[in-house]
Each structure stands twice: as structure tokens, then as C-alpha cells.
């Protein structure tokens, strides 16, 4: 069986010289200009914001929020075929305080909507929402008294169409969100959606009305 290496490591002719330079680096023999050139080739310079956004996007913790049929396909992305762990998102947290991605998988009934909103509010910034499936984005095939579309009461970042969307489609949506986070890290949802002025402040004397 032949092992074919891709071209990412440079061409084979310079391999020996690069190997020698690396050994010199490790033994501490590389100095002066050679050292500077060596380091420059291997260091990526960026701003702190971009670095943090890159890290944030690669380590999203989804919330276990399965509502209906889409939840089964969401469980499928954790399973082995479409493995969400290869992107780092397999740690589904049960507590909203520990999660930053809310995947609304399933239909949101009017009884559940305040619960969803409350859980979204309990999540800490930065937080994102994926409305998975047709029922949470619009009301899907159930255009009736009992269902409400998710973006009527909470901001949604990515809508994934499908009924239910294939696990690959949901993965595509999650990766699109990851790109958004890494490129445009405007974490505060109020800034993203122009929602300033909607803050609810509960003053100490007003509780339990």
C-alpha cells in the first residue's frame, strides 16, 4: 500500500534542508537572520479580536434543545456518520448558562415559546441561535393557532430549511454560523439585530408583581 503525501509539506527536494533547519532550531543553534526567517515563516500575526473570534467559532457549545422531529436529526449529527465532534461541537450542554448555541430543533408551540425565550435569556453573551427546520423558521406545514415562528420572539442567526433537514444540511448551517462568528464577531445580539432599547431591568423592589 503506497502512502501518498499531499503537497502541503513543501516539495521533497527541500525536505532535507528544512529538516536540518528544524533540528538546528531544536538544539538552539539557529541564530540571527536564519532564526528570524524561520520564525516569520511559521508565525501568524493577527489582532486579538480575530484570534478570539476564531477560537469562539471553533468551540461552540450547543444547548440540548430538542423539541420535535428535528431533534432526532440533531441527535444524528452527534452520531458517527455526520460527526459534529470533528468540528469541536460535540459537547452539548444541558444548562443554558454553559451553552452558547441554541439549536431550535422542532416546532415551537405557544405554550413553549415563553420557555424558549426564558432559556435564551438565561444564556450568557455571546450566544447564537440556529432555527433548524421549517417549523421553527416559519411555521412549516402547520400554519395554525398553536405554532409560532421562532423569529417572532427571539433573534435567529441561521435558518436551516428542511422538514427535517438532513444532518448534513444542519452541519452546513452550523458551519455557516461558524464562519459568521469568525469573520464578524459582533457578539451582542442587540448590536447584531438593532435591538437596543429592549432591555428589561428588574429593580429590587419590583419583583413578584
Amino acid at each position: 500500500m503506497e502512502i501518498v503525501r499531499s503537497g502541503g509539506l513543501g516539495d521533497p527536494e527541500t525536505f532535507r534542508s528544512r529538516q536540518l533547519t528544524a533540528r538546528q532550531m531544536l538544539t538552539g543553534d539557529l541564530e540571527g537572520e536564519d532564526l528570524e526567517k524561520f520564525v516569520e515563516e511559521r508565525v501568524l500575526a493577527t489582532t486579538l479580536d480575530k484570534a478570539v473570534a476564531w477560537a469562539r467559532g471553533n468551540a461552540m457549545f450547543p444547548l440540548t434543545f430538542g423539541l420535535a422531529c428535528c431533534a432526532i436529526e440533531m441527535m444524528s449529527i452527534v452520531a458517527a456518520r455526520v460527526d459534529v465532534a470533528r468540528f469541536g461541537f460535540e459537547a452539548f450542554r444541558a444548562s443554558p448558562r454553559q451553552a452558547d448555541l441554541l439549536i431550535l430543533s422542532g416546532r415551537v408551540s405557544i405554550k413553549m415559546a415563553p420557555v424558549v425565550r426564558r432559556i435564551y435569556d438565561q444564556m450568557l453573551e455571546p450566544k447564537w441561535v440556529i432555527a433548524m427546520g421549517a417549523c421553527s423558521s416559519s411555521t412549516g406545514i402547520f400554519n395554525n393557532y398553536a405554532i409560532v415562528a421562532a423569529d417572532k420572539f427571539m433573534p435567529v442567526d441561521v435558518h436551516v430549511p428542511g422538514c427535517p433537514p438532513r444532518p448534513e444540511a444542519l452541519m452546513h448551517g452550523i458551519l455557516k454560523l461558524r464562519n459568521q462568528i469568525q469573520l464578524n464577531p459582533d457578539q451582542d445580539w442587540r448590536t447584531r439585530y438593532g435591538g437596543h432599547g429592549t432591555e428589561e431591568v428588574v429593580l429590587p423592589g419590583d419583583r413578584g408583581a
Binding site: T64, F65, G66, L67, A68, C69, A71, I72, E73, M75, S76, V78, A79, A80, R81, A94, P96, G106, R107, S109, K111, M112, P114, V115, R118, I119, C135, I141, F142, N143, N144, Y145, A146, I147, C163, P164, R166, E199, E200, V201, V202, L203, D206, R207, A209
Partner: protein, 418 residues
Amino acid sequence: MTDLDAITRDVPYREREASIDISAFESQEGQEELLTLNFGPHHPATHGVLRLLTVLEGEVIRDIKPIIGYVHTGIEKTCEDKAYWKVIPVVERMDYLAYYFNAMAYCSAVEQLIGLEVPKRAQYLRVIHLELNRIMSHLVWLGTSCLDLGAISMFWYCFRDRESVLDLFEMSSGQRMHPRYIQVGGVFEDIPVGWADRVRRFCEEMPTRVDQYAALLDKNEIVVQRLRDVAVVPESTLLKLGVTGPLLRASGNPWDLRKAQPYSSYEDFAFQIPVGTIGDNYDRFRVRMQEMKESVKIIAQALDGLPEGPYITDDRKYALPPRHELATSMEALIHHFKLVTEGFRVPPGEVYAPIESPRGELGCFVRSDGSAKPARVHMRDPSFVNLQAIKVMCTDTYIADFIATLAMLDPVLGGIDR
């Protein structure tokens, strides 16, 4: 700031919570410190959005009250607005793990109302898909139950097998979930070339897999300790509570509609009904594992005996004519037009058609008033009725036992809330 005052004072959701009356709980005799704990609709261990108000004395549950409706979709009302054909995808999304069964119950009811004969090949194809769905539903049950018990690796094994079943569904109908394959009068289209071989290969592999899972779990000390002798309910109580399906079979009653009131050619197949002895969680677990193997037997027999013939009824008033006829036959064109625009009309009447879904008796009541839209569709969902048994099963048990019992109850909230 005055607007904000108004907002904080006027939060109807908090008031709504106050309407649930727990004073009955608090006035129980012999009360030590009783704690009312809410297993909210968002919880990792309730299978779906089920809310349970539990009254705890230490770790022991003294009372439990399920509160449902958090995924109520108004499916039954939506069905009244759609033509009979269009109801099928709506009704499929009810019990979202047993979608072929939902469609089958509804189509059985409509076919009974019309008096339509389903061709033999279509019946066999329906049986194959229904049993594949039963295996898939039990696999998801097994995976999520073991996830609740802590045996997380079972989740991956079961979902790997689920993917094989979904591949078969995708090959026959194009969709993994909710495929609208079962139609009124038969099935949507015939199976493609090579599907039967793939199903046969699946049938050869599946019993080995189930045996592997059994080897992993059946005599596992933790599984036995957590499930043996937990939540034993006598069969008479279960019958009074209307419980059917594997829960009833685990307590010793071999009631299975596939044998008792065979529908869709189930009488042609030889299979056994696994029945438990004690009626505890361990029996429920073993019954479902064995049901998977029995389903494989049914599928193999159905494939061997699959007759040639039409896959949907020939009655053009209820099933679309094949497309090549539209070019030559005027009646076919008219039938096609009528079916696609208005849909078929069903003679007035009321019918209740029950079938055996993975969770119990799934019945569909259809009332028609002679028009092209049903006047009432009601799905008697097994989980909705089985959930009433949670109180009997979980009173005076520990919370950990309650989690295991809920897992063994196999509730699917889509069916409960509809």
C-alpha cells in the same frame, strides 16, 4: 423607566404558572419536608418537552404530575383543512419516530371508509417498511435510554444502525424521515432495483448487532441493578390505565394487534410476541430488544414472499394514474386533474382503525362528511395514554429509578401533544 416598570409588572407567564394547584400536594399526611421540584420542559432526561411536577421527600418521589402541551401543534385541526391526500404528511409528523405507522393508521381508516382494497404487493411493502420503522424506533429508544442510564456508547451504536435503516428508507422513497411513502390505496411507488438485496443484507446483519447489544447490556450489573424489580405495576392496573404495547406485554399480557386483529397481511408471517414475566423495567427492556429480532424475521419473510403486482390500487378515483396513460387516455387525464386539484371524495361515515405501533395501539379515527376534506381526524396516540401510568410507576421510587422508568416508558412527545 416607566415603560420598564410596566413590563416587569405585567409578565403573564409567571402568573400562568400560579394556576397549577399544588396545595393538594402540600397537605399530605405524615409530611416530612416535602420539596416540589419541577422537571421542566427543557430537561436532558425527559424525552422531549415533558414537564413533570414532582413532590420529593429526600430522593423519593411521593407524587408526580405530568404537564404536557409544550409541543402541541394542532395537527388534528390542521387535517380538517386539507384534502385527504395532503393530510398524510401532516399526520406523519405526529409521533415522529414512527412515521410510517401514523400514515398507515390514517390510510387504513380512509381505506375502510372508502371500502378500498389494497393490493397484496402494497400490503407486503407496507409491512416491510413498518417493521423497519419499528426497528428504527426501538433503536432510538435503546440509544436514548442507555444515554439516560449512563451507558453512552450505546447511543453511538444504535444511531449507526439507525443510519442503515434510514439509508433503506431514503433508497425506497427519497426521504430519511417523514417520507409519505404509505398512501391511500397502497404505497407511493414501487421499490427500486437492489433495494430488496440491501434489506436482505440488513436483515442478516441486524440480529448479530442486537445480540452484541444484548451481550453488552443484558447481564450488565449496572443495568440489572437499575432496571430489575423497579417500577413493577400489576397487569390489571395497566389495563385499567389503558396501557398497550411493550409495556403491557412486559407485564405478561400478550396483546399485540398484529396477531389479534391482523391488518395488512400480518397473518401471512410467522413471528412471536415477546412477553415479560414480572413487569418491571428490565422486562420492558428485554421485550423491546427481542421485538427488534422478531421484526427482522417478519421483514425476511415478507421479502421472500413479496408478490408481483400493482403497488397501489387500480381505482383511478383514489390513486393517480401512471403518467404514461395521461398521453393516451382522456379518463386518466380527468382523474389526474380531479385528484390533484380537489382530491378524492370519501363517502360520509366514521371509522376507527387501530394498528400496533412501537409504543402501543395507535388508532386513527376519521369522520368524513362526503367532501374532499376530512371532517375530523383523531389519532389515538399510545404515548398519550401510556403517560398516565407514570404516576403508578414512579410513586415511592427514587429519582434515579424514575429516570430509568421514564426511559423504559418510551414516550414520544410529538404523539402525546399532537
